[in-house]
Amino acid sequence: MPIPPNEALRVTIKAGVERGKPIRFLFDGETIAAYEGETVAAALLAAGRRVLRTTPITGTGRGIFCGMGVCFDCLVVIDGEPSRRACMIFAREGMRVESQLGFGAAS
């Protein structure tokens, strides 16, 4: 059964623009339903996942802060590559996203 995208935080679009086609990607092993055209950050936010990483020194959670690629807080591991900005990268079908713990694991 297809998993419907979480609609609670998605804006109900009345007119003018249409979302891209539904896609699915993984976040820490769980399937996240999204739409093409959404950034990884937006899709995760819509799915209620706001903690994107934990910091190296204090181990505290971070998520979206500036939303425009300046603050480098929204870092996640994408397809094995650490320190990718979730707000700048569009979600793709089958993408493997993981929350980044500290610096991320060595390859």
């Binding site: 007119a15 936010l45 802060f65």
Partner: protein, 479 residues
Amino acid sequence: MTAVEKADLVIIGAGPAGLSAAIEARRAGVESVVVLDEGIAPGGQIFRRYGPGFSVTDARKAGHEYRDGQSLIDAARASGADIRSGTIVWGAWERTLAYVTDETRSGAIEARTIVIATGARDRAVAFPGWTMPGVMTAGAAKTLVAIQRVLPGKRILMAGTGPLCLAFSAQLREYGANIVEVVDAAPAPGVSDLVQLGLNGNPSVLMDAARYRARLFAQRIPFNHATMIVRVEGGAEVERAVVAKVDRDWRLIPGTERTIEVDTVLLGYGLESNSEMSRLLNCKQRFDRTGGGWLPERDAQMHTSEPGIFAAGDGGGVGGSRSALQQGRIAGIAAARELGAISFETAEARLAGPLRSLRRIDRFVSALNRIYRVGPGLYELATPETLVCRCEERPQSDLEVMIEEGVRDLNSIRARSRIGMGRCQGRNCASHVAATIARLTSRDVSQIPPPTVRPPLKPVPVGAVAEQRHQHDAPTQIE
């Protein structure tokens, strides 16, 4: 330095200022106009396009700035300017600019003239809990909602200042967001303030503000003046916010704290210019308290202190998109004249209109900026444990110890404490650090120079930077 490419005019940034500069320069007959822009598509922040996948079915209903942005982008493309998206300018030597495209390829371009149109960013504010997921800038929320069509949270507090804060809250509500409260740190504008605004500008903008205010009122969304965020609390994410009344300097009035149950706090405390590029290019700077901080000095025709280098739009001083459009036109025309593409007379004739429009817009913007100027209290919210440097996780106490030990300039503080050494390169903390130094040493922020800017201007992958070498050299020994 081996520059691969040459251009008559390189414009850094494809927002309203950059695009309108490109249009005017091409119109004036400048042959090679190259626009280097970081975004995946032109438009900057205010005219940001939808992500690939979304389709616009009706431009008139596609969003507030969508149509204006699209016609500007179309005109810029049609003008024959070479717009390169996904391109980060990371270094500058004289007028040669080094860039990385798509995080993988690199190159350099030697420009006869340059227009810096790097825009602005949301002001970061340090308070206890500001690093928690759920706290984001108003700009981040705007992009999420308008471009991604995702709401920032379930229960939202908008904490900021000025009519943009008001307008955006009303817009958010229209998208279906649950705005629990809006707090503006500035006092309610007095009669004289309103008169100033009315005299100096476009009354319709004031009418818009009144309309937005009315809409919030109709929705029963509480709107409180002279109120500011104090701290945010929760486990792993935001669970509640504490606000308090403030005086005219935005200092907390004791005994006025109250708690609001929210999961999201948006920070709308104004914008700061992305003036780092102008500093990298050695443009003389001035400090503008209400206009976005450290800015390049410019004359009426957007010329900076450096020959052949212009600055237009929010990157030269925060003024909004209408101002940016006119400034961009002026810079494009002035650059064309400098290149000899048009005569002085033609340039004067073309400059007259935009200069006139700009004067009118700027009077209004200046009045607005003055009324909603940031108070010093904004930088006094951090407690000793509050992380002042998000990137390197350094607390306020580290900063204060440095200052007490006599370390009082931003470069030395960065060297000794790591504050400002992280990926954001000080963009989130420089103003707070400067304000703290000023406060603790009884100086004015204008007396504390900004940190020295060196390449790379933005983080760029080592592999991408090195790629330029692969293009041209076989591995050789170093001479």
